[in-house]
């Protein structure tokens, strides 16, 4: 009976086949990442459109300190990706304590990134930057800057909370290594988005010498 059932389930038309050889949670996260990629792509394309069409697009970031500061933020986020990789490896080895420690390290770097980013935001706001106005040039700059970096920062904050939940769940034995891996996919995606935001929004806006 059992054999008959397993044969029925394993036929391609009964849903038993797994063409991607991955669990539904992981596939679901990949599909979410694809849709989120298009959201960020649309924002960055809108930024490009606005910038090319604005004759007075501001370039308000002096190399020192603004670009160097955002470089530190980038390195912090990259460091969090490495600790997340280590967390996923530890989870797959079944080392629960080590997994939780690596996830906590990832959350620390994520929270540090948010703190650095907020400090930068407040500094720019104190210089008169708002979503609709600034002293440097096209008022669209503020909308683009806060829109792109704000959506990214929201992702980082959600990621830190998500990782907190996963670390508690995995620490208590309620979550599987696959759950850690799926949260890792999300976290690396947040890092990946910054790899486009950093050069396009910051380095391309370095103040000319």
């Amino acid at each position: 009976m059992h054999e008959v059932k397993s044969q029925a389930v394993s036929t391609p038309w009964s849903g038993g086949g797994s063409p991607f050889a991955m669990g539904s949670k992981k596939l679901g996260m990949w599909l979410f990442i694809v849709s989120d990629t298009l959201t960020f792509s649309a924002l960055l394309v809108a930024y490009t459109y606005a910038r090319i069409n604005s004759p007075n697009w501001p370039r308000p970031f002096p190399f020192n300190p603004s670009i160097l500061y955002s470089t530190v933020m980038t390195v912090v986020l990259l460091a969090s990706s490495l600790t997340m990789v280590m967390a996923v490896m530890a989870a797959q080895r079944g080392n629960r304590g080590s997994t939780v420690k690596w996830i906590l390290a990832t959350m620390f770097f994520g929270a540090t990134f948010v703190a650095l980013h907020m400090r930068e935001w407040f500094h720019l706001i104190s210089e008169g930057l708002t979503p609709t106005s600034n002293h440097w040039g096209s008022p669209l700059f503020g909308a683009v800057f806060f829109g792109v970096t704000g959506l990214h920062m929201t992702h980082v904050v959600i990621g830190v909370v998500y990782l907190g939940i996963v670390s508690i769940g995995f620490g208590r034995g309620k979550f599987s290594p696959e759950d850690v891996e799926v949260s890792g996919l999300y976290w690396h995606f947040v890092d990946l988005v910054w790899m486009f935001v950093f050069p396009l929004v910051y380095i391309m806006s370095v103040t000319p010498k």
């Binding site: 991955m22 670009i67 470089t71 490495l82 990789v85 891996e181 996919l185 050069p199 380095i203």
Partner: protein, 107 residues
């Protein structure tokens, strides 16, 4: 056809050292980007080089950190071409149109 329900059993063992090397490479590429900002070349050159480096960095993150390299090829074929096509369509319409509008602007 493979019938793996869970992915974990299908993963080959990847050494931590490999990930550290990928990470170092990402840092080096970031360093090159920052240097580009320091020497501040013409906008078109900057945009081309920076986007090129970013695509390499994205590929490093997706392939190694997100394990896509170690998944079945069908996952890559399912996800990547469709995403690239959609982004390409956005650029095909809006990037060229923005250049057209910039040329229309009175000088």
């Amino acid at each position: 056809m493979s019938n793996h329900g869970e992915s974990d059993s299908a993963h080959p063992v990847v050494q931590a050292k490999t990930f550290v090397w990928v990470w170092i490479f990402l840092i080096v590429l970031t360093g090159i980007e920052v240097y580009m900002g320091y020497i501040d070349l013409e906008v078109k050159v900057m945009l081309t080089v920076l986007v090129g480096l970013s695509i390499v960095k994205a590929w490093l993150i997706i392939a190694w950190f997100m394990h896509l390299k170690y998944e079945k090829r069908s996952v890559t074929l399912f996800l990547v071409p469709a995403t690239v096509f959609c982004i390409g369509m956005m650029l095909l319409v809006f990037f060229w149109d923005s250049l057209r509008l910039a040329q229309l602007r009175p000088h």
